[in-house]
């Protein structure tokens, strides 16, 4: 695909990294010459410096033959304008990041009248992600497949979990639930485990299954799955706003602590059900006073990564079951895991994965099978991809035992007639199945790529 990326901020760079590695023709545009040079030196892309909404610059970038134009500059207006111009100049798809809810709340209009294929709002996506994790508290991270029918969750093996020092082949003795452990992260290494794999303390496991089975699995192996009733949010950012609104719909009580008074007033007007506290959330006394010990979850969403991390640690110390911190600097992730902070959300990564998932689905529309959803898990080392089986798929109706599948690839689940099947040796692929593949290989483009021949 021929892709133009406008804006080389963190999201732009992430997208450049993934898309150029996947072999697309990428052109990047940014106002700052230095950023363009860095991108060109690091990745196999063409760089242009200038305003991405400029007619001439877009033409120079080859917009008329572009499959997709992604505008992710800091300015919403520029992103929308660049998308509109590109569309008029002949770009097939346009994707824009729009933060301001004033612009983005009418998504239908943006899509149908202005021709945008996708509008991403990082704050909203992040709030969605946090909400999902909060509703499933023993889980560090949740991704959904097949329109929510199948979930992929990350869990950490703590002391007292019945999986510790057990082989995977013994799993059926411990739990009757219909789930599959499809990847394990130990220290920094990621493995696609087989039956002889023995789980240890501090391993992170990635499990697929339906929501019901996963809940049962958690219960049976000893993960505490207490229902969350009240949530404390530190920092009254846009994410906090979206999150509080969504949680209040589910009947969860929220409390937002924010230092800026006028922002507090604004929030209190928009969020009648939430409690808004005007105080410094990094002050331990304030947190105690507002009853942090009684809270089921603490979500740290201030503008500073460091503050979020420290607050989350403090929350852990004070006995909060579930702490979530927003961290923008991805490179910190490996350290954060070591200090015991395991639930991290990164808006940039969330936006980038959403865009990439969308592009993959588009890129493969006419291939033999197409990517439906894609998640990068375990610090991007593993991908979970959803495909639909169709008539072009090889090895239809053959039992899985007899098919040679490439190494480091695992079929993590088959969804047939809305029923999740955990694949066993005698199962077969049928037309219309949605199948979920977990792979340590990058760049799985189509379903047939998983077969050895």
């Amino acid at each position: 695909m021929y892709i133009i990326i406008i804006g080389l901020g963190k999201v732009g760079q992430l997208l450049t990294h993934y898309l150029s590695n996947e072999g697309h023709d990428v052109v990047v545009i940014d106002e700052v010459q230095k950023k363009v040079e860095d991108a060109v030196n690091q990745y196999d892309v063409l760089g242009l410096s200038g305003n991405g909404a400029n007619y001439d610059i877009l033409l120079e970038a080859g917009v008329e033959k572009a499959d997709t134009v992604i505008s992710v500059t800091t300015s919403d207006e520029l992103n929308i304008l660049a998308g509109l111009i590109s569309k008029k100049l002949g770009a097939k798809h346009t994707i824009a990041r729009v933060r301001n809810p004033d612009y983005s709340h009418k998504k239908d209009f943006l899509r149908d009248q202005l021709g945008f294929s996708l509008i991403v709002n990082p704050e909203l996506e992040t709030a969605n992600e946090i909400r999902r994790t909060i509703t499933f508290p023993s889980v560090l991270k949740i991704d959904v497949f097949a329109k929510g029918k199948v979930e992929l969750v990350e869990l950490k093996i703590d002391h007292g979990i019945r999986l510790e020092k057990r082989k995977l082949s013994q799993l059926s003795q411990i739990t009757k639930s219909n789930v599959l452990i499809c990847a394990v992260k130990r220290d920094e290494e990621v493995m696609i485990p087989n039956g002889n794999f023995e789980l240890q303390y501090n391993d992170h496991i990635y499990v697929t299954g339906s929501h019901k089975d996963l809940s049962r699995f958690c219960l049976e192996v000893g993960f505490i799955n207490q229902v969350i009733k009240n949530v404390m949010i530190v920092g009254g950012s846009k994410i906090a706003f979206y999150l509080a609104r969504q949680l209040s719909v589910q009947g969860i009580q929220t409390k937002i602590i924010e230092t800026n008074e006028s922002r507090c007033i604004e929030l209190s007007q928009k969020l009648p059900y939430a409690t808004i506290i005007n105080a410094d959330g990094s002050d331990e006394d304030i947190l105690l006073e507002e009853g942090i010990q009684q809270s089921d979850a603490l979500v740290c969403l201030t503008g500073l990564d460091e503050e979020n991390v420290i607050l989350a640690l403090l929350g852990k110390k004070l006995g909060v079951n579930k702490t979530i911190a927003k961290v923008n600097r991805l490179s910190l992730n490996s350290i954060l895991d070591q200090i015991g902070l395991d639930c991290i959300v990164d808006p940039k990564l969330i936006v980038a994965s959403e865009i990439i998932g969308y592009l993959r689905a588009k890129a493969n529309n006419d291939e033999s099978s197409s990517v439906q959803t894609l998640y990068k898990i375990v610090n991007d080392q593993v991908e979970a991809v959803e495909f639909i089986v169709n008539e072009k798929t090889k090895h239809l109706n053959q039992s899985l035992m007899t098919i040679d599948i490439k190494p480091h690839i695992l079929i993590a689940g088959i969804l047939r007639n809305n029923q999740m099947i955990v694949p066993k040796g005698q199962d077969v692929l049928e037309i219309g199945d949605r199948i979920i593949i977990v792979t340590a290989h990058s760049r799985l483009q189509k379903l047939n790529d998983i077969f050895e021949d």
Partner: protein, 479 residues
């Protein structure tokens, strides 16, 4: 530093050289020459060695600028070391150092020769000499990048270190496709020249080899009298036009290919380049008019010589050593100016010269108005201070190498003109110099030390100084 990747890329390069060496072997087979077997031996040797080195691709394929420089420098040195072996073991060039000089001169597209009589060489040797121009002109590593599957974004560092010119621009977003396009344009132009020369009645073998020399702006002739041997205005004309064409930035030629004529002809560097050529031709034509029967003849020889020297090809049709001093000095100046950036030519490059001049004018303005803000524009774009700094450093190092080489060569106690022009011609990859090393002379009389120094100069000139000099820099080798 990613040593494994350097080693691996060197292996790939040697494999490629092994494959390329089969071409002179085939040429030898066609002409039923026994020497061709040596090319086959070296081809196998080079391929096997390269294969062993590249048998395990390294896990970490990321390379940065420093690996890029090192890969390029080491590749060119090992390329020449292997390329010289067939000349030596076949006995056509009895001394290995001479053979090395000859092939370095070939790959760097210099065209300076130590041979006194090229006509007695075998067809295989002649082919390999001229073919080395063709490969060296666009760059062996560009070739490797173009035709090997595992090129990543970071291979741009290799291209940057190998391609001539201060700013390397990609044609399309992928390095590999860019390299392929460059070689396609290169090959098409070469074929067109071959056809045109054959239409004029030149034998196929001659037109092919002369085209290789033109395309790489190399200048190894296959006749002792160079292009002058054919004594045909038609051949002179075709070769002049193609020499000048190969001295143009390939990005511009690409624009012509995709029919963006306006973008191509708007180029500032092209205007300067053609302007300099026109002025030089006019000046020399009038200066040498009295030596030839008509002004048309004078123009023909002047144009050929100017085209040959500014693009640093080094073909000759007339002994310009006999021309008036003024014409000779004009040619020496052209040697320094060189061709356009991004072409196959050598020299300092027109774009650098233009930026030097603009910067000098701007600096003078700044002296008069100390608070003024003056920005330099080239190709309608602001030239940032890093680029200006870089090209000035280039000039300083250029002259350091130049005068250091001159000093060493002077130990041999030859006359000033010969010593000066030998260094000039080698560092700028031109070919012939003046006096002893002039258009009718050659480099065979120089001492071994001088030849080594000139080999070094040729590599320094072709790779634009930095990669070769960096081998001697401590910080490059540090982890």
């Amino acid at each position: 530093m990613n040593r494994k990747m350097i080693f691996y890329t060197l292996g790939k390069m040697l494999k490629m050289e092994g494959i390329l060496l089969l071409l002179p072997f085939l040429t030898g087979l066609i002409y039923r020459e026994s020497v061709s077997i040596y090319y086959f031996i070296v081809a196998v040797l080079s391929y096997v060695l390269g294969h062993l080195m590249a048998i395990h691709p390294p896990k970490n394929k990321t390379i940065y600028a420093r690996e890029g420089f090192l890969i390029v420098a080491l590749s060119w040195i090992s390329l020449s070391i292997f390329g010289a072996i067939p000349f030596y073991i076949s006995g056509e060039i009895p001394s290995y150092l001479d053979a090395f000089f000859e092939i370095v001169s070939g790959f760097t597209t210099t065209g300076s020769s130590i041979l006194t009589d090229v006509e007695k060489l075998s067809h295989a040797a002649l082919f390999w000499r001229s073919f080395s121009h063709w490969i060296g002109g666009m760059g062996i590593l560009v070739f490797v990048v173009a035709f090997l599957p595992d090129a990543t974004g970071t291979t741009l560092h290799i291209l940057k270190a190998e391609m001539p010119g201060p700013i390397v621009g990609k044609l399309v977003s992928k390095v590999r496709v860019t390299s392929q396009l460059l070689y396609k344009i290169y090959a098409i132009l070469t074929i067109v020249e071959v056809v045109l020369l054959m239409l004029g009645g030149m034998p196929f073998f001659d037109s092919l080899l002369n085209s290789f020399g033109t395309a790489g702006t190399g200048g190894f002739a296959i006749k002792n009298a160079s292009i002058g041997f054919y004594d045909s205005a038609y051949f002179d004309g075709v070769i002049t036009v193609f020499m000048i064409l190969f001295g143009i930035n390939f990005n511009l030629i690409y624009f012509v290919f995709i029919k963006k004529f306006a973008t191509a002809f708007r180029s500032e560097e092209l205007k300067w380049y053609l302007g300099i050529i026109t002025c030089a031709i006019i000046a020399i034509t009038f200066n040498i008019m009295h030596m030839y029967p008509s002004i048309v003849d004078a123009f023909r020889f002047a144009a050929f010589q100017v085209g040959s020297i500014i693009t640093t090809t080094g073909y000759v049709t007339a002994d310009y050593g006999q021309w008036p001093l003024f014409s000779q000095i004009v040619l020496v100046i052209l040697m320094f100016v060189g061709a356009c950036a991004g072409s196959t030519g050598g020299g300092i490059k027109v774009s650098r010269i233009v930026i030097y001049l603009k910067n000098a004018l701007a600096e003078m303005k700044r002296m008069v108005h100390p608070h003024s803000v003056v920005s330099i524009k080239f190709e309608n774009q602001h030239v940032n201070s890093t680029t200006v700094n870089n090209i000035h450093t280039y000039l300083v190092l250029y002259f350091v190498v130049f005068f250091a080489s001159l000093l060493v060569i002077s130990l041999q106690n030859i006359d000033f003109t010969s010593a000066f022009s030998a260094v000039t011609t080698c560092i700028n990859n031109v070919g012939p110099g003046l006096s002893v090393v002039g258009p009718v002379g050659n480099f065979s009389s120089l001492s071994d030390l001088s030849k080594i120094v000139l080999c070094f100069d040729m590599l320094v000139g072709r790779l634009e100084i930095f990669p070769i000099l960096m081998i001697f820099s401590k910080s490059l080798w540090k982890r």
